[in-house]
């Protein structure tokens, strides 16, 4: 070593430079992996998601109703954390979608029987994306993803700019008319952290909603994903959605 001081400075510079580069690159990690297997969570612990079996949904709307009751969601038909849509594909290929009052009052088929090619119900909710556009755009970080994979809103921090509402491709967010901050499905975080299931899952009479931990290889959700061919909504947007639908028809958006 001819010049120990210079070598020392070199080492320090390399370490500092590397650390800076790593910290700058860190937020871009999400860019490095495309849609991957749902159970991929490097942090360990639980990683929650939801399965929805469209074949089992009967459109009773109890999930949407229970959600409103459990989470004090305003009763007016403009604010929903969870709702049900009725899809009717007619013989001529036309798609008709309806969700009167989010399905809480049930559904009536408005298309005459002879014109119906097929019809089914699609329960909707926040997809708790792990590359979530709403988390990405929040200018103050009031919307965040918990360690166990749930997207939440800090209502004491939200400034109400509504950028997240624009960024959510699934229409899952609304501004709470009384609290004046953004509101959305929390996967009933207050329940699941106590070992209970979300209210919508609890009341579903047909077991169409399967709540579970994607890291629990013996759990109900992984079993559901193994036994069914599931898709997420709008996979091309690469949001990392964690609500998996069985029998999802291409018409569903």
């Amino acid at each position: 070593m001819k010049n120990p001081r210079r070598n020392f400075l070199k080492t320090i510079a390399t370490i500092t430079g590397g650390a800076i580069a790593a910290s700058v690159a860190e937020p871009f990690n999400a860019l490095l992996y495309a849609s991957s297997f749902p159970g991929k969570n490097v942090k360990g612990g639980s990683w929650y998601g939801m399965g929805i079996d469209i074949d089992k949904c009967i459109g009773c709307g109890r999930c949407a109703d229970a959600c409103k009751k459990e989470n004090n969601v305003p009763r007016e038909p403009f604010f929903f954390r969870s709702w049900v849509e009725q899809y009717t594909i007619k013989n001529d290929g036309e798609v008709k979608v309806e969700s009167p009052n989010g399905g809480i009052d049930g559904f009536k088929q408005s298309v005459p029987d002879e014109e119906v090619f097929k019809s089914f119900f699609v329960p909707k909710m926040c997809n708790h994306c792990y590359k979530s556009p709403c988390v990405q755009v929040c200018p103050v970080g009031a919307t965040f993803e918990t360690r166990d994979g749930v997207v939440l809103v800090d209502d004491k921090y939200c400034i109400g700019c509504r950028y997240c509402v624009q960024a959510c491709p699934y229409g899952c967010r609304y501004i709470h008319p009384q609290r004046k901050v953004v509101d959305k499905c929390t996967l009933c975080y207050h329940r699941i952290t106590k070992g209970m299931t979300p209210a919508c899952v609890e009341v579903c009479p047909n077991g169409a909603r399967i709540f579970g931990d994607l890291n629990d290889k013996n759990g109900a959700l992984i079993k559901f994903l193994k036994e069914h061919t599931c898709l997420v909504l709008r996979p091309h947007l690469n949001t990392g959605a964690k609500v998996y639908y069985n029998s999802l028809s291409t018409e569903v958006r």
Partner: protein, 402 residues
């Protein structure tokens, strides 16, 4: 009943097809239309000013100071519609204190402060410093003190000091051009980066915003220059107007080409959202997009300004064309902002239907507040023109040459 809820029940009767239940409320209203409109005027006016300062287009000199003061007046007003629109306006400061750096919106505060403090205020100060010193010596009473404060205590007006003013002012203008591009390109990025919305999500959005900003800013300064000349009963410099007209034409050609490219690309690719977007353009946006933005706001000015390049009618007729075109362009660009902001929220993200937008008259996001916000920059500009009239200014740079 809460007026919002009442409004939403009204909207519900006008919904066409299917929208997600949460989509009845249109979240970015008239105020958010004003925000890109106002920042666009700032960026455009500044770029016109830099034509003279950096690119040495001497003919537009009579509008140089007016353009800078216009940019300042509008920039002061730019954050008002944003803040007024927040549901928690008192928490707005959080965006500066704890910015979430993956959000395009989080940078707004910094871009804004940079542009206001570093670019515009400094440039105007270097440009007016000598005049503040002269005026503070000429005036008496409170005005003397106001000008004295505005000098910030730097009262040296020796030739050497003025040379430095000029040098630094020019340097800041050079920084200012990319800053102006950044300010408005960034506003475009706020919309262009939303992948959930196919009407917004285009890589061209920031570029389109920059060129539409130039178009609107140039038109505004042109209109103001003619208006102020009229009020001061002096005749507007025709060479200046012809030159501004020419640059307005160039900017319009670029802007129109980019927007046309964007639409052609959209139509040719005809992705999943194609059907709903064509319905939007031929339906809900027909008047504001096809008639106002494209026909009146773009094609008419393009044709008339283009004709002036090959055929020169009398001064009076040309002036009339400039009045008409600058007003049409300003209306057209407002319609463009409307079509982007409101248009992008009228169709459901399910692509199966449309919601409706009812402007309220009163209320924080109502028509009256919005109108007030359009008038406010003009009042501020009036004050600035009274405080530091460009026509009473002995130009420091001219002074140096003499």
């Amino acid at each position: 009943m809460d007026p919002l809820i009442q409004n939403l029940y009204g909207v519900l009767t006008q919904v066409q097809g299917f929208i997600y239940p949460n989509e009845a409320e249109l979240h970015w209203s008239l105020l958010i239309v004003l925000y890109p409109y106002i920042t666009g005027l700032v960026a455009g006016a500044f770029i016109l000013a830099s034509l003279e300062r950096v690119f040495k287009v001497k003919a537009v000199k009579p509008t140089y100071h007016l353009a800078l003061l216009t940019a300042l007046a509008f920039l002061i007003c730019a954050p008002i519609p944003l803040n007024a629109h927040l549901t928690q306006p008192i928490r707005a400061y959080e965006i500066m204190i704890t910015p979430h750096l993956t959000s395009a919106m989080a940078v707004f505060g910094f871009v804004y402060m940079w542009y206001l403090m570093v670019v515009l205020l400094l440039e105007i100060w270097f440009d007016y410093r000598r005049d503040f010193v002269v005026w503070s010596n000429e005036k008496t009473g409170i005005m003397k003190w106001i000008y004295k404060i505005l000098t910030l205590g730097v009262t040296d007006i020796s030739e050497n000091a003025l040379k430095w003013d000029d040098k630094l002012g020019r340097f800041i203008t050079i920084i200012g051009i990319p800053s102006a591009f950044f300010l408005h390109g960034y506003v475009g990025f706020i919309f262009g980066s939303i992948k959930a919305n196919p009407w917004w999500s285009t890589v061209l959005m920031p570029v389109i915003f920059i060129f539409s900003a130039m178009v609107s800013g140039i038109a505004l300064v042109m209109l103001l220059y003619m208006l102020i000349s009229l009020l001061r009963r002096v005749s507007a410099n025709m060479e200046c107007l012809d030159t501004i007209g020419r640059y307005l034409l160039y900017a319009l050609i670029l802007d129109f080409s980019l927007e046309a490219l964007d639409q052609i690309h959209r139509f040719y690719e005809a992705e999943e959202s194609f059907e709903i977007i064509s319905l939007l353009m031929s339906g809900k946006l027909y008047i504001t997009l096809i008639v106002v933005q494209i026909l009146l706001g773009t094609v008419v000015p393009l044709v008339t300004l283009g004709l002036l390049q090959v055929y020169k009618p009398s001064e009076q007729k040309r002036r009339l064309i400039y009045w008409m075109d600058s007003a049409l362009v300003l209306i057209g660009i407002f319609a463009m902002r409307w079509n982007v902001v409101i248009g992008g929220q009228l169709f459901s993200k399910s692509f199966y239907g449309f919601t409706a937008y009812k402007i309220e008259l009163i209320g924080r996001e109502g028509f009256l507040v919005a109108s007030g916000l359009v008038v406010l920059p003009f009042i501020i500009l009036g004050f600035l023109l009274w405080l530091m009239p460009p026509w009473r200014k002995e130009d420091g740079r001219e002074y140096l040459k003499a």
